[in-house]
């Protein structure tokens, strides 16, 4: 009961936020929080629930971003039409990369994902058709509403809110399905899960593909909001890092962990950027680095695990901190 009250308060606040805090900066901030929350929630499926720490998720983000901008720049279509294309690309890539990579455990998996993302970034940077280092642009003047190019951040806010709700619903549904149980078992001990007959490789691959699809949607939305994508903003390792840190700060493997992480870190970054100007970019990541080190050292389950720890004795979901 208590949980539902909290949930409705959060939902009511999320819906009312852009009306309560209606300056363009605040609305944009809200939209960005939701956007990163989508990406971090998508990462959470494979990084949090399955315990496979991908540091190369930006590659799927880039699939979506490039598909959306490519649909416009190459075929004159609305970027919206790029979304399914991006999903297909991301899922395909996840399948190809996932089969050999998911066999690797722990650090090896993380390193392989970095290498995949960096390889992709270098290839795209040197591909003239994809705009090389300059990247691709979306429509500068919207031709109709389907171009999803708005001056105000308000439409983006509600669009992102809807997509985030879908992402969280999928995640919630997944955790309560057979797949969720498999994933938790695999995270605790892959060997034990296998010996009890859980199809570990297949489940991990499905989680990876699902996560890739949702991440590519986040990438497409990002590109639409900013109106362009280049190798740094679409495939740079720092995007992966941001996504990962948000999920880990809030609580990897917890449904609302990524949202909490995004709600803390996105304002921090925007504010430090606007206060410090050009010098801020470097300093933001110094702060990011310090935050990650501190979480890793003192609170590896994320901030939300502080709350859930109390109720753990009642319902042990196995999520969050698993020593």
């Amino acid at each position: 009961m208590r949980r539902w009250i909290w949930l409705s308060v959060v939902v009511a606040f999320a819906i009312a936020y852009p009306l309560l805090l209606s300056s363009p900066f605040q609305q944009r901030l809200g939209a960005l929080v939701l956007l990163y929350a989508i990406a971090a929630s998508a990462w959470n499926i494979v990084g949090g629930y399955a315990g496979q720490v991908s540091v190369g998720h930006v590659v799927f983000f880039g699939c979506g971003a490039y598909a959306a901008m490519g649909a416009y720049a190459k075929f004159g279509l609305s970027p919206l039409f790029g979304i399914p294309g991006g999903i297909v690309l991301a899922v395909g890539l996840a399948a190809i990369v996932g089969v050999p990579t998911l066999r690797l455990s722990g650090h090896y998996f993380s390193m392989a994902t970095i290498a995949v993302a960096e390889t992709m970034r270098l290839i795209v940077t040197n591909t003239e058709w994809l705009g090389a280092a300059v990247g691709l642009s979306g429509p500068t003047v919207p031709r109709n509403i389907f171009d999803l190019s708005f001056l105000s951040a308000l439409p983006y806010y509600y669009l992102f809110l809807a997509i985030l709700s879908i992402t969280l619903a999928i995640t919630w549904w997944m955790t309560n399905s057979r797949m969720g149980f498999y994933l938790r078992a695999i995270k605790d001990s892959e060997r034990a899960a296998r010996s009890l007959g859980a199809p570990a490789s297949r489940t991990k691959l499905y989680a990876y593909m699902l996560s890739a699809a949702l991440t590519s949607v986040a990438g497409a939305l990002y590109a639409m909001m900013f109106g362009f994508v280049d190798p740094e903003s679409g495939l740079g390792i720092l995007i992966s890092v941001k996504i990962l840190i948000m999920a880990a700060l809030g609580g990897a493997g917890l449904l609302f962990g990524p949202l909490v992480g995004a709600a803390i870190l996105v304002p921090l970054e925007e504010i430090s950027n606007s206060w410090l100007g050009g010098k801020g970019a470097g300093l933001t990541f110094v702060v990011y680095g310090a935050i990650i080190v501190l979480i890793a050292r003192f609170q590896p389950g994320g901030l939300l695990s502080l709350l859930t720890r109390r109720s753990r004795s009642k319902v042990d979901t196995g999520a969050g901190y698993a020593p």
Partner: protein, 287 residues
């Protein structure tokens, strides 16, 4: 074989020796504690900046810069071990990855913030000029870096296999509890391992600072090079890292020469993935 090709291969070998040097630091820590230092490349980057700062403040070139960079980084290694690694070593996998990854960001962007994103390069100093040798032209700074790196890597191997300190470290790697019962302190040995590993990166950074581009993000590329070297040579093996480092240096400069400079990183990354996927135990390692 044309002269140019020989020249390219020799250049690759000299750079590869430096790769071997800092990769043996990574492989040592990895083999001993089963922890991967994602900040390893950024340690090398710091070494480069230390050498740069030493030169701009005091002059003197690598003779002064290299020992100082080694010392500074070795100290940093010990600090990192006690402040961070010891706490996350037995924690969950996510904490281990996040911990050193966060450290990488912290170091990279602190330097970025302080020095800016511009490419720096060492002003011409004592080890300038090139040697002509049997038709080959070799830059003095590259020759110095390659030779010193090779000797130090070999020395590291001897230290680990021929001295009592090395035996103690291997004992801790093998079985901490048993080592403890023999009167060896795992904590001290692991701190020493971190000092050696980080010191090696400092030396390597100072050595390549003379001819490499100095930029805060160079650590990312060098970190991946170290991962490739270690995965190729087998985890925990210094001789493996040496052979693999030389090999990667040659592959990199050959592909840079034959296919184009922009593709040399791609070749290294793809090689890395190939090894992780199909031969994760490395060329010489055992599973």
């Amino acid at each position: 074989m044309s002269f140019v090709l020989v020249q390219v291969i020799v250049g690759g070998l000299l750079l590869g020796a430096v790769y071997a040097l800092f990769s043996s630091g990574l492989t040592l820590v990895w083999g001993m504690m089963n922890i991967v230092n994602f900040a390893h490349g950024d340690f090398v980057m710091l070494g480069m900046y230390v050498a740069y700062v030493v030169y701009t403040l005091m002059g003197g070139g690598p003779i002064l810069g290299a020992p100082l960079a080694t010392l500074v980084l070795a100290t940093l290694g010990v600090v990192v071990y006690f402040a961070l690694i010891r706490g996350i070593m037995k924690g969950p996998m996510l904490a281990q990855i996040l911990g050193t990854f966060g450290l990488a960001l912290l170091l990279r962007y602190s330097v970025f913030w302080w020095f800016g994103a511009n490419f720096l390069s060492m002003p011409p100093n004592i080890v300038g000029g090139t040697y002509a040798f049997a038709g080959l032209r070799i830059e003095a700074s590259r020759l110095l870096a390659g030779v010193v790196a090779l000797l130090v890597t070999l020395g590291l191997h001897l230290l680990l296999t021929r001295t009592s300190l090395g035996s103690k470290m291997l004992a801790v790697a093998e079985d901490q509890t048993a080592a403890q019962l023999m009167g060896i302190r795992p904590d001290t040995m692991q701190a020493i391992a971190w000092a050696i590993a980080a010191g090696a990166t400092g030396l390597a950074g100072a050595l390549i600072a003379n001819f490499f581009y100095i930029v805060p993000t160079v650590g990312e590329t060098l970190g991946i090079v170290a991962f490739v070297t270690v995965s190729l040579g087998g985890f925990g093996s210094v001789p493996g890292a040496l052979v693999a480092g030389l090999l990667i240096g040659v592959i990199e400069s050959l592909s840079g020469y034959l296919i184009g400079a922009i593709y040399k990183d791609i070749v290294v990354y793809v090689l890395f993935l190939f090894f992780l996927w199909f031969r994760p135990q490395g060329l010489m390692g055992k599973m």
